[in-house]
Symmetry: C4
Subunit: 380 residues, 4 copies
């Protein structure tokens, strides 16, 4: 009997309904790197590679974490700190912690509860924000079952047809979104070699954007999905989203001061520094490498959200000390979802909160504002 | 029975006619690094080591690819890009893509169709240029069977005897060459340790230069071939080639601004920045490391072709953003030839086109001219 | 029969009394890296991981030793040196060597003789200083059995209750401490992933601080111990310790010029540059990386003690050449204790003395003062 | 039966007379790294570790070769070069090549022919210089059997007793030495961990210095030998050697401009930049890293010899381009001696000549003087 190829195995997974984990339990989070290794064991290969993989040589993916080691946190002693406070706010919304859920497509790859599971974990943790991706595998109403009345932002992948975009925004607003995140760095898919090897297709539909994805499940490959989305993203789209939604608009995927200023000029209410977790343009710098120059250009005009590479509390600290107001966490949450459903998600959020507080104490910072004034150290 | 040495095995290959692959089929190109690994399995060892290997410690070979990681491409968003255009031109010739075939000796090591196979793949892809090496294992007429009327440039390894050089140029012109490439960096062979171990000799003749290679097949070692070629290459040769051929002359192997200016002063119509794929002077910098300073010196006086280290569309982008007008691809094409004959060659060209377009879209560049104005980011 | 988890194994060790080595013998010290590997074989895993491990990714731990390779010692020849002299002094105390014992908790993890064994090794070596940690597993009187009348400093982990602190200081003074070391960088425990995996608890009590540790042995986890200690360390504590003890006060854990100046302003008699062996704030620079800037700020106002990363005489030399007056050694001594009890400790001190003298001879430095004027070389 | 320790094995080797290779044959030198690996197989372990090993972490040993990769040679094309000329001269002695034999102790570890074998290989190659170490295992007359009338320099390890030094110099002069090399960087042995593990002792005597080594063979450990030599080397020794011998004096082991100038001030006729192959002060920079600053300080007042790390012709080129006049080769010659006796030595010298010529051709340099004016490229 001949050995099946990986692509054949994945096709079988899809045909069999894709067998994501379904257990719900608290997880012990010692660090999030280990979560990735454990998730690898329970998530079907095609899904795991999609979630954890990135584009090209995965240079940018690796740079996202290596970049942290170029800047040291200086422990400040005699700082009179006790019980560090992690609370902050954005757009008038109070947050318990300065980190939120980054938008990620297709949580159902990690767990059968899909985005609803993530949402429930976030709701139980409380005091943060769920970013809902337009490429969610769950519908707004399914997500609401988990999220209850917690804060949510909506990340749009635009259609070529603005009427459809209006339609989607209407739904997101009806669902309670308090901000729109324009995905500006993903007008097509990065060259994800692992997905190409696996001939990866999403094993389920995407209810929010299904109105503009023609052909249904047979068309759920990355290249097809992106091809049916809008490529020609420009400042006009920022303007359109702002005007039509009446909500604050983030431009996500900013890696240069020039784009940050263009986005602000077009009416963006916030800058989202991200390289999409290294999944788009390989050969780009690590996201943290790009942050400082952007922050200097923005000069506090609008808030900055940062993501791509957050794995420890130390990284949240470094990002805020380099100009971020809020930090997005992504893959580690999905790994928590895979390992423990909503309880796993909650465990991951609790881990980041505890780890950040430890770093704040040891660095001698009482508040998030103190972190913003902390000096980092160039490591050669 | 005693185990044969590698040299003995290779001698047997040669005696047996050297058993290069002969199949013709499209190949799936996920990335070109994998092509190298696959080609290793099908090409006889002596030939594969010759093609893939380089000189000395292979420091310069490795530096050719490591150098890409010193410069990041900055993804530019909100750039209003869709369907990036890769067309460009050189010396009045329109090109579909800004990359061409670099001259490489002895394609017959990779595939029985030799240079004719490469030429046919290029012809089928269309809109690019075949560089024909004087050390081709196929004759002009054999190559023409594959190339049809497509663009070609001729790379000369000069004889010590200028009458023979005139003779060769006459033939190349008769064959339709529209430019002459003077190989200035290979007046003798680099110290290729693998070839020395293998006691590598070319398993077939070189019809174009056979008029000045004495001794025939018995003399087909690297050192002998180079010894019978001309060592004393100077600006006089640039002048001679220009005057005699009436064609634009490239000087290939330029790694310094000084040599670029000298070549231009001697009448070169183009500069070819290359370190011969790391095969000549080991301990030289990566070719990409040398490009920027040369481009600044040349200031657009003549076009710059760049090669040595191109493995992804990302690299083509980075080279053009650093001053190259046209990029040459070499080894990846030979691996494609080895794996699929002319169809494999075509697949490799198509891969580069698609991958470059993806990078252009994600980097926010609509045209080749836009790439030239893109800013790279120093990665530490 | 199911395999025991590491945590179960460690629990058994604790229940069984924790089986530390007890043999006493000289050891051959070729280098201290090998001592670590040998100690790994004889110390129970929970204890070894605690001693050798550090926080987070252990980035800072690794940086502590990698940092040495960024600065080269320049061998100075024709320097007319013979029999280099390692004697120095601090606060009027003459020292045979410029290195002392750094404070470390719980030596009993390494050897049944606990701190008394370390103290005896130091006493036999003579002419240096024992730092006694408040988290010692031995009492002052037990330590005195080994230490006899040798120099000692006392490292305090402060209680939230100053009366208890006074009480502890009274005892330390009665015991003969000639300086107080304020632990300013450990107001809670670093995120020590290995200890978390092992569910590490100290297998014995801490007599010096037991007055403020509630719950006894059941409470001997790192987090509990730190939680019961004082977090809000400030310049007031420096002032308090100085005034109450009447002794010179070091502030330990300084990594910035700012903190050094604050400590001096608050009355510190010495600065102790340290990152706690990489055990506290991971993501901090290597301790040696931080030294030079601090030394430049302090400008000799008070002496500087340096620790975190000393493994060879070469490192002692580099630290002194970069501004340290005295160097603390830590883990290597514990490994010596584990491998040979007090004789092992003595062997380690003798090794450092011999190795430092060799470096001094080869670097052309006759005295410690000469080292201070030696020029280091930036290695790229 | 218990397994023997390495130290026991080496003791047996010594007791059995130390079984060095004795075969004499040409060897194929593809590169000298491979020679090291082959020599490892034929030289007794104690001897091989002594020859190939270095001090401490072997950081400086590794840096000696890594340093080459920080500077790239720029291939210069159109340079009109053919048949590069490697001839040069020093102190009026004509040399065929710009490299000579560095002084090394105890060649008998590599081959039974001892220094006489090396000398004969050098004599057969011709046109270079044999440096004879005072720690030679062969006597002057034994060496003369191989060396015939070829050039030789004598490297002195000074005795504490100047009368003995005069006596040795008298003999060296009588033997025909045309320069004296003062070993200034080895007043005691580096901390060679491998030798310590092996409890290495020289398995034979040292006839030249036996007059001041007390105790004979039983005392042939490194530490004992160095202890009986002179430690207090100063400018007085340079003066003494110059005055007494009337010969040009090199100071060997220079790594700083300051020492170079001091040596010249004391009458040195040449500077020998070396870190003793990484065998003395570990933690020092790579020897090549130190060269440029020294050359700039010396400004051609006296010739500079460079060693420590030469493995390829490329390295000879880089050293000369950075200010060396002559380059010393060491370990590779010993490996050649081990593998083929005097014929192996000759093969290694021929390899370096051929490899240097290849580099000169490809770099576009016709003469040694041209190399001195070549520009290197900083590699990041």
């Amino acid at each position: 009997m001949t050995k099946k190829t990986v692509a054949e195995e994945i096709k079988e997974e899809v045909d069999a309904g894709y067998n994501a984990p379904s257990n719900v339990n608290e997880i012990e989070v010692i660090n999030t790197y280990e979560l990735e290794e454990k998730a690898r064991e329970v998530v079907p290969k095609g899904g795991f590679d999609y979630m954890s993989g990135a584009s090209g040589d995965e240079f940018t993916l690796k740079q996202n974490t290596k970049a942290w080691d170029k800047k040291g946190i200086l422990p400040r002693v005699l700082a009179d700190v006790e019980f560090p406070e992690t609370s902050t706010s954005i757009f008038g919304q109070d947050l318990k912690v300065p980190f939120i859920m980054s938008p990620i497509a297709a949580h159902g790859l990690a767990h059968q509860s899909k985005e609803a599971g993530t949402a429930k974990g976030i709701a139980e943790f409380g005091g943060t924000i769920m970013s809902i991706s337009a490429y969610s595998g769950a519908s707004f109403s399914e997500i609401e079952e988990g999220l209850k009345d917690n804060n949510r932002w909506f990340q749009i992948y635009m259609s070529k047809d603005d009427e459809m975009n209006k339609n989607i925004i209407d739904e997101a607003k009806a669902d309670g979104a308090t901000a729109i995140i324009l995905t500006a760095d993903a007008t097509l898919s990065g060259n994800r070699d692992k997905d190409d090897h696996n001939k990866f297709v999403y094993p389920f539909g995407m209810p929010i954007v299904s109105r503009y994805l023609k052909g249904g499940a047979k068309n759920m490959s990355l290249n097809n999905i992106y091809a049916q989305s809008k490529q020609k993203i420009s400042v006009n789209d920022v303007h359109f989203l702002k005007e039509y939604s009446g909500l604050p608009v983030f431009v996500k995927g900013i890696q240069t001061p020039e784009d940050a200023m263009a986005a602000i000029g077009a009416g963006a209410a916030g800058i989202w520094v991200s390289n999409h977790g290294g999944r788009q343009l390989d050969g780009a710098p690590g996201s943290f490498e790009a942050l400082e120059a952007i922050s200097k250009a923005v000069q506090g005009r609008v808030p900055i959200v940062f993501d791509s590479g957050i794995r420890r509390g130390e990284h949240i600290f470094k990002a805020i000390a380099s100009g971020a107001d809020i930090v997005g966490v992504g893959r580690p949450v999905l790994y928590g979802l895979a390992l423990g459903g909503w309880k796993g998600v909650q465990s991951v959020f609790e881990y980041f909160e505890e780890d950040l507080k430890r770093v704040m104490q040891l660095a001698g910072t009482q508040t998030i504002e103190d972190i913003k004034h902390a000096r980092l150290f160039d490591i050669k």
